[in-house]
Amino acid sequence: MFKFLFKRLLVLVPVFFGVTLVAFGFIRALPGDPVEVLAGERGVSPERHAELMAKLGLDQPLWQQYLSYVGDVLQGDLGTSLITNRPVAEEFFELFPATAELAICAILFAVILGIPAGIIAAVKRGTWIDQGIMSISLAGYSMPIFWWGLLLIILFSNTLNLTPVSGRLSFLFEVEPVTGFMLIDSLLSDEKGAFKSALHHLVLPAIVLGTIPLAVIARQTRSAMLEVLSEDYVRTAKAKGLSPLRVIAIHALRNAMITVITVIGLQVAVLLGGAILTETIFGWPGIGKWIIFSVFSRDYFAVQGGLLLIAGCVMVVNLTVDLLYGLINPRILH
């Protein structure tokens, strides 16, 4: 089991360096002189140019620059934002809980609806229930999610006036950011109705972000279940006289989950990308919105750092999924 994890970790090391290379190369790849690019339209005088080159270490050979960059990264220094002048890492982790909260709610939505849907579709294979569930999930991942978000806003926020349009909390409330998770913080605060408001604000973005994972999880659960249901050990379980519920929910599902867990994990990585669109549409103050803003405002250090950190998150999630996989697959655990 630990050998398994260790091997996984070993693979991550070159990937980590690869990503630092991408992040590092990103700024160097920008057309034009890096200093001028960073300075933007203001332009720099020749002396200032030389000064900045030295300060940013840009006069050193590339490989040396890369090494010092990696050294900085390993110490936690991911550069300073050109716009806000704050350390990129600090900005990132301040905004991270918002995205995390959204992502967690989206995945919960996807899993709680998706897995049962997939099981039902598999058990009722070929019937209209199966076809209905599969059609809906197919539509689910054929949609552009930014459009889906806009559509839901038009429908629920505008026409029906059910949900708010943007943000995490109604401006009427003042909540102390203790954990960064609005649901928790609003419960901790004294403000009555803050929790409800926070929940209200979460509903649409979570649904929009979770739609594609929902569709994928439903389909994958169905195909995993179908495969498992035709296995010999399911026949044995039936031959023991066990109830159909037990056969499906325990004997079949347990084996199907092995594949589905991996799928769920992969979807979390996809979510971090989808968050960019969702946060933009709903004005959700998380990492997605921040990195788009950084790209557009040419805050290159923020983009560089953000890229590295987001990739880092993805790698951590994937490693966790591998760990979970090792725990539930008895061939690896024993």
Partner: protein
């Protein structure tokens, strides 16, 4: 009253190419303590008939029978819940591939105690001692150490023993063994068969042994049912069958045994078992039968003198085959 009474069982599968008759008018009557072997090539429908009995066939199967009853209960009219009360408890079945027939995610103890808890109530943990007793019974050494083992940690022979333990846990009146040794090493085969016979004698349960191996039949069975292409061609007590086969197919099967090979060639039966699309008009065995006459090719075989043949082989002719294997 017989323990198991099956009369004219027919199983048809709905396929893309039409209806496939996997089992055609098969009858079987069993008393407590009987050992019956069902023999035939692949495609003879031997497993399907027993799976129909257990209710383990997919929804594409249509099961019809004049009678199918076990221990006085009518299996045709019973609902699923009533059937589940009998399956695993009074009738059990063990399968051909033990390595894939055990759930890879659960331990040996879990899977055996589960069937006990299902039929006798109580939590799984309360049956722990019984599980150890069962594992001992099936010949697994140091059973306490095997409780937490997972199927992928077991060998083929060990897996089959666990399967057997699981399926005799509730002391069934009838155990169906579907080619239990086919997937195992030759040395293990003998051990497993011995185990089955031992258990049968100890518990007084009826045993149906499905196999394609005539030697196994000779070793273990009291009575033999020979099946071909879904039809029951002959059913006789074992010694009679081996000494005096009356259906040409049975005779061909016996003479195909390596013991009767002439010189270096085996007496293989020419041709193949008919599939769904090439069923002959007339007797199903006629294309491959060396005694076939015109009537055989044009008319389906009737059941005369207990044998499904137009011209059953005569009793006590020069075609008698002595079998040293039996005794």
């Amino acid at each position: 009253m017989a323990l198991l009474e099956i009369t004219n069982l027919t199983v048809e599968f709905a396929t893309a190419h039409g209806s496939l008759k996997a089992v055609d008018q098969v009858s079987l009557s069993l008393d407590a303590g009987d050992i019956v072997a069902i023999v035939g090539e692949s495609g003879s429908g031997k497993s399907v008939a027993m799976l129909a009995l257990m209710g383990l066939l997919p929804w594409t199967a249509t099961i019809t029978a004049a009678q199918m009853s076990f221990d006085g209960k009518d299996l045709l009219t019973m609902n699923a819940k009533q059937r589940r009360a009998i399956i695993g408890k009074d009738i059990s079945m063990i399968f051909q591939e033990p390595m894939t027939s055990l759930n890879p995610c659960f331990s040996v103890e879990y899977q055996i105690s589960e069937v006990l808890a299902q039929h006798f109530g109580g939590s799984r943990g309360s049956h722990k001692n019984k599980v150890i007793e069962l594992l001992e019974k099936v010949g697994i050494p140091a059973p306490e150490t095997r409780l937490k083992a997972y199927p992928h940690q077991l060998s083929g022979g060990m897996s089959q023993r666990v399967m057997i333990a699981m399926m005799i846990a509730c002391e069934p009146k009838l155990l169906i063994a579907d080619e239990p040794t086919t997937a195992l090493d030759v040395t293990i085969q003998a051990q497993i068969l011995e185990l089955l016979v031992e258990l049968q004698q100890a518990n007084g349960m009826a045993l149906v042994l499905i196999t394609h191996d005539m030697a196994v039949v000779a070793e273990t069975a009291d009575r033999v049912v020979v099946q071909y292409a879904g039809q029951q061609v002959e059913q006789r007590p074992v010694t009679e069958l081996f000494n005096n086969p009356r259906h040409p197919y049975t005779q061909a099967l016996l003479s195909a045994l390596p013991e009767y090979a002439k010189g270096k060639t085996l007496n293989a039966i020419p041709g193949v078992v008919p599939g769904q699309l090439d069923r002959p008009v007339g007797c199903l065995f006629s294309p491959r039968c060396e005694h076939a006459k015109d009537l055989c090719h044009s008319q389906p075989a009737p059941r005369s003198e207990g044998v499904l043949c137009h011209y059953p082989l005569p009793i006590n002719t020069t075609a008698v085959i002595q079998t040293e294997a039996v005794s």
